[in-house]
Amino acid sequence: MKQEEKAAQSVEPSAKGWGKENYPFPEGAAYIECDELKCVGCGICQMACSMHHFGVINKELSRIQVRKYLLPLPKAVQVTCVQCPPQERECEKSCPLNPPAVYFDTSSLHMVIDQERCLGKKCLICQRACSAKAIRIYSSVSPKPFVCDLCDTDNKGKREPQCVNVCPYGALAFKAVVRYGLPLSDILRLHADEKAELIARRLYPLTKEKMGNPGW
């Protein structure tokens, strides 16, 4: 047998994921939770996201963001929409339209941006209202913004977040918004810069300007 054929045979069919896809499906409203300290910054979640939504590998078109900081040690920080409970949903509250073009669809159980009604680039009040900046706009694709729809792009109620399945470090989990009987997810709604600032405190008094020179 030729080496080429042998090699082709040795390729295994890809698994669906690392095992998270076999976990019990969360009940009711659910969101993607990032475990910042586990994230290594590979960005495979972003590749899965852009592939699922736009059919291309382009991390810039991903709804989940992974940013690399120097704290001063290099550290990747993830951010995505946490599907806030109704009382805390700042994006929905800020939308100038009535009913809002960005809203939580109670039948499909995730955030939706009505691409037809949304005012798009000239407005973006919702993006500013979200402290995590989880609402993304990609000028090269559309003048209208996008938000994490838990990979239920057709809004049929079939949630299946691809990023959670491919994350090799278990830094992403698909969890119920309600915990201990009460909604909680919005507390995780933080901008990557702010998360990075908090992680940097673990390294105090190491500064961003000096890595390892105590002066002798």
Partner: protein, 597 residues
């Protein structure tokens, strides 16, 4: 399937111009990075050019699979340390930014800027910016200041590759760094950047990578990303990073102890990675697209100050037991070496040599500008590092030039103490030890003594695969050639066969050797080991003794040329092979030099 174009961004610092060149045909012949760079250097750098003159070029290269099989950026240039073909390789997301800006054949830098500058490339917007306020700054501050400034200006996070004071001061083995812990270290790319007055390169791309078939690429990549083999690999890499690689080498006589003089010594046990991990582990970090994640930075808060960084074989090997210290001390030396910006392996070999010379009275405290350079003294070693970077004092300034130039200052008697091959420090993977075969691979390398000289590496570094990411891919697809083939085809839309890949590998290897041959390398005069490899045996922890016998070495070398490197017995590329691979244009240049087999 449509084919993609390969774009090279060509920047002329002298004229302050830039343009994008289509190099698709060349990439078909040589792949990217180190393969493509051979051609660029051969054509653009006239024979005999001083590596630190404006005539040298720096190719910051990526290749077809950057960001898929690990993320590597390969810098190619004429080396200021050896004068031959040089290359440095660096991880981190810098390479991915070039890919996303669609400079998928890299950036070529020519000429010399009149004042300190940095290169700014934000998608199609390319500017040469003033860097006089960054000049003189250490690396961490340089990178942080520049990233912060660009973030405020554009709202985007740039990938920054920068040099430290050693690069500015043209230390011949100065390196360039991104994300502080990822360094392009070998053979002096930092000095080349410094000679061009180029403090940093900042790149940001938002266009996304150019792929001929995204669906196919994702299918292949997902196979890797979700394979149990990948999962198994990552367990090791992500826990220890490369902290764990040193101790076994020390125990088995593969790593220098006391300037490579000693056989096994208990100081080796102080390179204890478990202790290091439990005390100082910060978190695990990795490169884009890689599930191995082999960067495990540490943070240490002590009464002497706070230290952070990463211990890898490449920044400790050479120091460590070679200067009679362990990991505890290395946590303080390694970040300083990174801040100043020098290749740890070269520097470690030189510092150990200097300690040896000091002990034997060949250099004095006066030569060292007042440093009492005793074995195992961390403060003295750090002081010496700083003096080397700024070339202060007679001995440090000589050490900044590398072994071969330092002999002229320190005299003949210093030579025996030097453990170098081709003028490059060889403290790691001891050349006497035959386990990894470095005796032969270092001695026959046309780049200088370092890992990464063989045929295989010329394929990996042309396609830009990472050596620590690729094992999982090889387990899935069978061989490195096959991995490169399937991914390159999916990315570029070509239909390369395994034979094509093998041919490209050999072509790149011959061509790289030809560049060195043209610049004065010749196996007959250069391919040798230091005297101590023949007259100073070492014994490992388990009682095995290693040393070379002259006749055996010559015999093995010939065999190595022919069998492993596909060269003639004299170590030269065969004329027929060059013709067959389309490299006949090198023959008229090299034949009169006696450099063709």
């Amino acid at each position: 399937m449509s084919e993609i174009k390969f774009n090279l961004l060509e920047v002329d610092l002298t004229r302050e111009t830039s343009r994008v060149v289509d190099v698709t045909e060349d990439v078909k012949n040589y792949l990217g990075a180190r393969g493509l760079a051979n051609k660029l250097i051969w054509e653009m750098v006239p024979q005999g050019t001083d590596p630190l003159a404006p005539g040298n070029v720096l190719h910051v290269g990526i290749g077809p699979v950057t960001g898929l099989v690990g993320t590597k950026t390969i810098l190619s240039f004429k080396s200021p340390l050896t004068g031959w073909a040089g290359r440095s390789s660096v991880s981190g997301y810098f390479g991915e930014e070039m890919m996303k800006a669609q400079y998928n054949a890299g950036i070529l830098i020519k000429g010399r800027a009149r004042r300190p500058v940095y290169l700014y490339a934000y998608n199609d917007e390319v500017k040469i910016q003033d860097a006089s306020d960054l000049w003189g700054k250490w690396k961490q501050e340089t990178e942080f200041t520049l990233r912060d400034r660009l973030y405020k200006q554009t709202g985007e996070m740039f990938g920054v590759l920068c040099i430290g004071p050693a690069g500015e001061n043209l230390v011949r083995y100065a390196n360039a760094t991104t994300e502080f812990v990822h360094s392009a270290s070998k053979w002096g790319c930092g000095a080349v950047m410094g000679s061009k007055n180029l403090k940093a390169i900042a790149v940001r791309g938002t266009k996304g990578p150019l792929y001929a078939d995204h669906q196919k690429v994702w299918q292949l990549f997902k196979t890797y990303a979700t394979s149990p083999r990948t999962a198994f690999r990552k367990l090791d890499e992500s826990r220890w990073g490369h902290n764990a690689s040193v101790l076994p080498l020390l125990r088995h006589g593969l790593e220098g102890i006391k300037n490579n003089h000693l056989s096994y010594h208990e100081v080796a046990e102080r390179s204890n990675f478990l202790e290091h991990n439990l005390k100082y582990y910060a978190w695990t970090d990795g490169c884009p697209g890689c599930a191995a994640s082999c960067f495990v930075p540490y943070f240490k808060n002590s009464q002497r100050g706070a230290f952070g960084g990463e211990l890898r074989h490449d920044n400790m090997g050479g120091f460590n037991a070679n200067i009679m210290v362990g990991y505890e001390e290395m946590t303080e030396i390694a970040p300083l070496e990174g801040e100043l910006g020098m290749d740890g392996e070269e520097l470690g070999g030189l510092v150990a040599w200097a300690m040896d010379l000091y002990e034997h009275g060949i250099i004095t405290r006066e030569d060292l500008d007042g440093i009492e350079l005793k074995w195992g003294d961390v403060a003295a070693a750090c002081e010496l590092l700083k003096k080397i970077a700024y070339k202060q004092g007679r001995a440090p300034a000589a050490l900044a030039e590398g072994f071969r130039r330092a002999y002229q200052i320190f005299g003949e008697e210093s030579k025996w103490y030097a453990f170098e091959v081709h003028g490059c420090a060889a403290p790691t993977y001891d050349v006497r030890n035959k386990f990894f075969g470095t005796g032969l691979s270092y001695a026959t390398s046309h780049n200088g003594a370092r890992m990464g000289a063989g045929l295989d590496q010329l394929l990996r570094e042309a396609a830009t695969t990472c050596n620590f990411a690729i094992p999982a891919f090889i387990e899935i697809w069978g061989s490195a050639e096959e991995v490169v083939r399937v991914f390159t085809n999916a990315v570029s839309g070509w239909d390369l066969t395994i034979d094509d890949i093998k041919e490209i590998t050999l072509r790149n290897y011959y061509f790289n050797r030809c560049v060195s041959l043209r610049e004065g390398y010749h196996p007959a005069k250069d391919d040798n080991l230091p005297p101590r490899a023949f007259d100073e045996p070492i014994t490992d922890k388990y009682g095995k003794t290693w040393v070379w016998d002259k006749t055996e070495f010559e015999k093995e070398k010939k065999k190595f040329y022919v069998e492993k490197l596909k060269l003639t017995e004299a170590g030269l590329p065969p004329k027929e092979g060059l013709k067959r691979l389309g490299l006949d244009f090198v023959i008229p240049v090299l034949e009169p030099m006696g450099a063709i087999g």
